[in-house]
Symmetry: C2
Subunit: 299 residues, 2 copies
């Protein structure tokens, strides 16, 4: 009793729930379509309740789509705020689960949860400062600085940084509804799809789409490296399943930084500096379990 | 006895040294040209020794030009590493002062020290997450996340982020010897000077130089906001003495973010979000005193 935790990866399309203590011990897992908040949360509650009686669950962790209110002093702490997902604005997801399950609940962004999962059991083990970036339908980033997940004013929105965009090289205007050609607007899965009129999965590794994709990703990483000075960068998400991108991105980051950051990790060991997630698609739900554990440990 | 600290703002041109406990109590201050490491450090030691006997000094703080080795586990911790400043590469500035004065020594980058000064007594009082940016001969940034100064792999080099650069609008190639048209390359004091063939001080507030300057600064801030989610951004340095830039930068940051970050601080209270330093040019040396205090308090 008491060694199990509930983890929820709350996405705009589906919720992944798991009971366990880490990657080597997942007792149960379930997926639900994201429908209305009431229906979705009810399914989550039913799932965890069925395991609480037999196994005991000590706490729940949530890695959620956002934007989220993560200001501990706020009256709406733990809520999804104003979201484009219909029906979900102002949903007190952490509060509802806490009330229904009677358990302590930790909540963070989906990407911060995935970052935390990689920190506990994956590619960022033992690091105090790193970035987890997911490049797929959208582009999101979670970051840890001095051993703590970065929140600040709201939480990072790393996908929306402005980047150099040479229109003579790439006249595509970008797909971000807010910023057109921010990083997400130029390099997300939908951007690739719209620019080349075909989904990324259908484009061969030697298609010019990928050289351009690596170019934008490298610019973004160069930005993050200069701003946050991470000890490692983990690149996940659907687009990064194109693993031929990694060596090209690494080389371009070195070229763009041009020796300015005097660190062996970048100059000599970049293969271990820009890496795929070790937990793959499980990073989110495992990270949520990690957040639940950390909550009880007072981290 | 024991309430006084020594602060050193170690710059590439001059060293500013002060003895005191904070902005309301500076007992003595001195400035030395930065010549050779041996001569400069000797002057610093002589200055502090003369006050140690009468007043007592509990610890020394240094905010130094860099790059610095700030990895606590490193054998060269506290050293200036490979610098373009002749004669100063591999200078163990913290170690030399510790040995000569027999006092605990704290060291951080010049911009992190200035950030810390603003946190202790200035425009970032009480904040856990903020950025201090200086835009002058170079562009440098210090950052705090979760109440701790950001170091990570090395330390931030915020001046060197790549930015959108529309060559049809601004054909100037940039002055950064490493990256040409990174933020520093496009917007530092020397960039303004070279682009317009006149130093910024000579350009009237309605000169087109300033609209362009605000444009690049706003892009950089939008980047930092998306990556670090600061609760406030402090803009100092020689270029920001052009205080007509502030309202233009604030407006452009709002325009570039386009309502995406749902935070009152940005949407409604941006005058208090992007601000000048409260400590002005004293931020660096006061921050060094703050670092010395924090060292003894175990922060």
């Amino acid at each position: 009793m008491g060694n199990y935790f509930g983890g929820i990866e709350a996405g705009g399309t589906k919720f992944v729930c798991a009971v366990g203590s880490g990657p080597d011990e997942i007792i149960a897992e379930a997926r639900f379509q994201t429908t209305t908040p009431m229906e979705t949360i009810r399914k989550v509650v039913t799932f965890f309740k069925s395991y609480m009686e037999d196994l005991g669950i000590s706490a729940i962790g949530i890695g959620s789509f956002g934007p989220l209110d993560l200001q501990p002093s706020s009256t709406t702490y733990g809520s999804i705020t104003k979201t484009t997902k219909p029906g979900w604005s102002n949903t007190d997801i952490a509060g509802e689960l806490k009330k229904a399950l009677g358990l302590p609940v930790a909540i963070d962004t989906d990407v911060n949860a995935a970052a935390f999962g990689e920190r506990c059991w994956g590619a960022a083990k033992g690091l105090s400062d790193f970035i987890y970036l997911t490049i797929g339908t959208g582009v999101g980033g979670g970051a840890m600085s001095n051993g703590k997940l970065v929140h600040g004013l709201v939480h990072p929105e790393m996908g929306h940084i402005p980047l150099p965009h040479d229109l003579s090289l790439d006249p595509f205007p970008g797909v971000c509804p807010f910023h057109n050609d921010c990083f997400e607007g130029l390099a997300s899965g939908p951007a690739v799809n719209r620019r080349w009129d075909a989904p990324g999965e259908k484009l061969a590794p030697d298609h010019p789409a990928w050289a351009l994709e690596a170019h934008y990703i490298a610019y973004a990483l160069t930005n993050y490296i200069c701003t946050l000075s991470p000890q490692r960068i983990i690149l996940g998400g659907g687009v990064m399943e194109q693993d031929h991108l990694f060596p090209v991105i690494r080389q371009l980051v070195q070229k763009q930084l041009n020796g300015y950051i005097q660190a062996a990790a970048i100059l000599d060991e970049i293969d271990a500096y820009i890496v795929p997630p070790a937990l793959g698609k499980q990073a989110g739900v495992l990270g949520a379990i990690g957040l639940a554990q950390a909550l009880l440990q007072g981290d």
